[in-house]
Symmetry: C2
Subunit: 243 residues, 2 copies
DNA sequence: TAGTGGTCTAGACCACGCT
DNA sequence: GCGTGGTCTAGACCACTAT
């Protein structure tokens, strides 16, 4: 019954997560690691692995000598910054059915800053993809992605660009895979163009992510800017002492 | 000072971190887990524990089947959001000698929102501590902390409040210990007061952290707002796919 | 003092990458 | 095929909390 993918500890994690959100642990107390190991027929190390992941997600917390407990405040956090991958998922987590509106697929020559960020030469052709994410009819996120044309297989139709998230587009139209983003969080006052697209007044304060996406070899693949409607999507994170 | 008992894996972690930043691994390749375990005389699990922490910090990355490598881009990130605890440390990491200017220590009655956030009654007395963090002569961070007076031991002098970071103040003047913050990231246009304190024009876009600090029992202890000079301090994070 | 989480060991097998 | 990191086991002892 053990399927090697997902891993045993991930199965344990999912199982426990379900019981946690289902309210199975009424007092907020989760059984001891030994008990869980015995009950689920796995080793304690595997249980600990699953619990560590849940703790990191903020779903539980542990007190040495005392026990493991449900972390109600952590459970209520929806948009956890470190875990964002696809904006569609973020919006779905907010309880809306997201849609995507394609604004622009274009090419342009790389300027100096972009060339440096993507590790290409100044003047190299770059594909620009601009999209708007909406929940119901409300625009929430405006994204602009820039990818070196060299990176993409020749045939990138507007439909392809519109129908797939960027990370999947790279899977289907290149041999590069996005591994992680290095993101800078920037406060902006919306330009009149951005404000119009997002349906708010020009000059409204907003958050933007200025980021570079890397593949697993740490080679830059994409440069992206995402701008958010602060009144509809606000980010939360948990900060802990690390020492 | 610091650690009465650093665990073996933390010692291994520190050791490896030193060698990494010291450039001992010239090719960027870190020895295999088996080799490290043999070399350091510990089990492979302990080495893996240390490497996992380093990977999480962004110092290294691993490729299954290939090896473990130094993550140069990750090493260069100074202000990692998840790891912020004391702003003085953040500024020190930026290469400046930070100073703190006390603006205000005051008391006020809790309004409805604050009472709810801190789990106290409306009208209960709250201590307000307002500080400015500077690097050299430039103001960088403006913070306002609110703590229920009940939480603090009676004698809280202005000097105490000024000389210690809030988390340490709680250690010395209460029996509560800050365990983590739940932080909301908010874009703002600086008010004229904030702008004056931070030495920029009113209306300048800025980031603010709206946060509640909890102790390890998940009881709220402090409500804080921190506002940043975007031109001097910009936050970065690494976003990864978690599935 | 009993029970819990925190750390560590020694060994095993698997999935993946390189060459 | 070989070496790497990824997962899992079974058992041990320690540090801390609660009672």
């Amino acid at each position: 019954m053990i399927s090697p993918n997902p891993s045993l500890s991930d199965q344990v994690k999912s199982h426990l997560k379900q019981r946690i959100v289902g309210g199975d642990f009424e007092e907020g107390r989760i059984p001891s690691e030994q008990d869980l190991a015995a009950e689920l027929g796995v080793s304690r190390a595997t249980v600990r692995d699953a619990l560590s992941k849940l703790e990191h997600e903020g779903a539980i917390y542990r007190k040495q000598g005392a026990g493991t407990f449900v972390n109600q405040p952590g459970l209520q956090i929806k948009s956890r910054l470190e875990e964002i991958w696809s904006y569609e998922e973020v919006l779905r987590d907010h309880g809306y059915e997201p849609s995507v509106k394609m604004l622009r697929v274009d090419t342009e020559p790389a300027d100096h800053a972009l060339a440096e960020d993507l590790g290409i030469d100044v003047g190299d052709t770059v594909v620009v993809i601009e999209k708007l994410f909406l929940e119901d009819a409300e625009p929430v996120v405006l994204t602009v992605n820039r990818i070196a044309e060299l990176t993409l297989r020749p045939a990138l139709s507007l439909e392809d660009a519109a129908s797939e998230p960027v990370f999947r587009l790279l899977e289907t139209h290149s041999d590069r895979r996005l591994s992680y983003y290095v993101t800078e969080i920037v406060p902006v006052a919306l330009s009149s163009y951005e404000a119009e697209q997002l349906g708010v007044a020009a000059g409204t304060p907003a958050l933007a992510f200025d980021e570079i996406g890397f593949d697993r070899d740490n080679t830059p693949v994409v440069r992206a800017t995402s701008t958010f409607r602060d009144d509809l999507l606000r980010f939360r994170l948990i900060r802990r002492k690390t020492d």
